[in-house]
């Protein structure tokens, strides 16, 4: 460091530090202004990061190597009727797909409905009732907690048995072992043969408010005509995108789709949900940045005002320093350091308040706030930068004072 730079920085820092303590009221006011900006920004970012983290967890619960072939896409773009007119899949097609796609580790048809599930006078509504085969449990990453899973035998002889999700088990059987009990699904009796480990929420939907019954039992109980989808898991280590590409050709062949015609089915991946989710939070981020920008602008103008007052109050001091040999640059550095130091303190307080807010939000709402260390550093650094920027004009004014006039100032 050259001598001149050392003088500028050391003395600037000393004066800035000194003046923070000497002008407490001013420091507090500036700090509050910038702190509010940082706090707002951080609270919003914290909540978004929390959303992201929980969404990632939810997506992971679907399994990263799963695909679903269906009449309907998960994310419907355009006309729903267009998809409705597609032909339904058939069970032989499921077997043909399995035979032609060597990269498939497990495959199962899946059909679902919303139903009321009751036991002993207790009733749960809007329960997801799925008709699946034995293989589905591996595809959907469902762990059996107690009892057993569904078997091919259950399916073959259309046994009225059910494996129930954790929310259903807790809701209908508080303190009771559900195994062997008879529940009613939309009035039809099913015997509970197993319970499932909790998977958690997916996009605010409780995945554990679900009941699994054998695929064929589902149809024989709740009627035919309902279209089913085909869930599958690809081999570990298999590139899911390549698998998807190959699958398109296989499914077209199996369904006899004429060459040149558009696909008459959809291949769904959890990642597609992620894209929709990102579009959604992208907009949120935009709003957050806008709000943050405006609050920082307000805070920055506050700093500028207070620095201008500070320059006026210290006109004589500036004159004295100039007379004793301070160069313009030294004065500029002094005021810039002061402005950014005040702002950084504000940023730090704002960070604490912002994190606190995010924490409180995550405690009293289902949103889970999650702030990363980088965000905190960013908050303080950004505040200091705002102080620096808005300090430029006051600092330049201080440096450009005529020393003779400044010494005469009362």
């Amino acid at each position: 460091m050259s001598k001149a730079v050392r003088v500028d920085v050391m003395e600037g820092a000393r004066i800035a530090f000194f003046s923070l303590g000497a002008n407490r009221m001013r420091t507090v006011l500036t700090t509050v202004g910038i702190g509010i900006g940082v706090a707002t920004l951080l609270a919003i970012i914290g909540i978004i990061q929390g959303l992201n983290a929980s969404f990632d967890k939810q997506l992971a619960s679907l399994g990263s190597n799963t695909l679903q072939v269906s009449k309907f896409p998960w994310v419907i773009k355009g006309d729903w009727w267009m998809y409705r007119n597609r032909k339904n899949f058939t069970l032989p097609q499921v077997e043909q797909i399995r035979a032609q796609a060597p990269f498939i580790a497990a495959i199962s048809p899946i059909v679902g409905r919303n139903g009321d599930v009751g036991f002993n006078g207790q009733q749960l509504s809007t329960v997801d009732v799925f008709g699946v085969t034995q293989e589905y449990f591996a595809i959907g990453s469902w762990q059996v907690m107690s009892g057993r899973s569904l078997t091919d035998a259950d399916n073959a002889v259309t046994r009225p048995v059910a494996v129930i999700g954790a929310t259903v088990a807790e809701g209908l059987f508080p303190g009771i072992n559900p195994l062997g009990r008879s529940i009613r699904i939309d009035g039809r009796p099913f015997q509970v043969v197993g319970t499932l480990a909790r998977k958690g929420k997916l996009l605010e939907r409780d995945q554990d408010l679900a009941v699994m019954v054998p695929f064929k039992t589902f149809y024989s109980t709740f009627g035919k005509g309902r279209p089913f989808s085909i869930s599958m898991a690809v081999d570990q280590g298999q590139d899911i995108r390549k698998a998807e590409e190959q699958l398109v050709g296989i499914v077209r062949r199996v369904r006899g789709t004429p060459p040149g015609a558009p696909d008459d089915f959809s291949i769904n991946r959890p990642e597609q949900l992620a894209q929709t989710y990102e579009q959604l939070t992208g907009a949120l981020y935009g709003v957050a940045l806008g709000v943050g920008f405006i609050t920082m602008l307000v805070g920055g103008i506050g700093i500028m005002n207070i620095m201008l007052v500070s320059v006026r109050e210290r006109t004589r001091e500036i004159g004295i320093r100039r007379a004793l040999g301070a160069r313009k640059r030294t004065i500029v550095v002094q005021f810039l350091m002061e402005a950014s130091a005040v702002s950084a303190v504000g940023g730090l307080l704002g960070t604490i308040v912002g994190l606190g807010t995010a924490k409180v939000v995550s405690l009293i709402t289902p949103l889970a706030a999650d702030v990363q260390a980088g965000t905190i550093m960013g908050g303080v650094g950004f505040a200091a930068l705002v102080g620096l920027l808005f300090g430029i004009w006051p600092a330049a004014r201080a440096a450009n004072l005529d020393p003779v006039e400044a010494l005469r100032y009362e």
Partner: protein, 254 residues
């Protein structure tokens, strides 16, 4: 023009035909109308004149706080009339020690910190700075007050802190603008005694005053009137019009 010291030593100050014109609302105020003089090392010169005669303006130019509108000002063999702002700041730091009527101390800093300030801008390390500031305060007999703030000191003590600050960086000259103006006569006398001490120690002193009695105690005085030099000679003679004054040098010691 008088030159007190021997012709051999180069002049510390050489002012040639310096003017300073202010523009106030379209009107020209000619505060200095072409002044020329020299000051050698070790001299003690009073600048006197009525209020508005241009004393402070001259003082600001000599102190490199202001630059002449025309003319040439050589300080320590450097032409400072056309220097940039930053160059002037360096010259002020190295060549000039200011003493103001209103002391101009930083109110929130201790006497010691105030005295250190010129050395801070010279880039001196803290330890050496503190030692020198202490020594300078000792020269003005204020070692025992160095940790006091200005508002804990009397007027005379404050001015002595200011003098220590002016001395600390060992400048080529001390410039004092009405240094006793805000002090009662007894305290003012203390300060004048201190100046006499500094003069005997070999410092170059320029003292702006409107008090003829004070100017009379200086070996040399320059009288300004309406922006022009109207007299330049032994202090007693110029200040009191006493043509039979004893040689100025003798007046200092008593």
């Amino acid at each position: 023009m008088s030159q007190v010291n021997g012709a051999g030593s180069p002049r510390l100050i050489d002012v040639q035909d310096v003017t300073r014109v202010f523009h106030v609302g379209g009107e020209e105020v000619r505060a200095l109308r072409g002044v020329s003089f020299g000051i050698s090392r070790g001299e003690w010169v009073a600048i006197i004149g009525q209020s508005g005669s241009g004393k402070s303006t001259l003082m600001n130019v000599l102190g490199c706080l202001d630059t002449p509108s025309s003319g040439r000002y050589m300080l320590n063999n450097k032409d400072v009339s056309h220097m940039t702002d930053d160059e002037l700041a360096v010259v002020r730091n190295e060549e000039i020690g200011f003493i103001f009527q209103t002391f101009q101390l930083l109110p929130k800093e201790t006497a010691l910190s105030n005295v250190e300030l010129p050395l801070v801008y010279r880039g001196m390390r803290a330890k050496e700075r503190r030692e020198r500031a202490r020594a300078a305060l000792a020269k003005v007999h204020l070692e025992h007050r160095m940790h006091h703030r200005p508002n804990e000191l009397s007027g005379g003590q404050r001015q002595r802190v200011a003098i220590a600050r002016a001395l600390v960086a060992e400048p080529s000259m001390l410039l004092a603008d009405e240094p006793t103006g805000n002090l009662d006569s007894a305290t003012g006398e203390e300060i004048v005694r201190l100046f006499e001490e500094l003069h005997r120690a070999g410092n170059t002193l320029v003292l702006v005053t409107h008090e003829p009695k004070l100017a009379a105690r200086c070996p040399r005085a320059i009288r300004l009137s309406d922006g022009e030099i109207v007299a330049d000679g032994p202090g007693r003679q110029v200040a009191l019009g006493d043509l039979h004054a004893p040689p100025a040098q003798a007046a200092g010691g008593s």
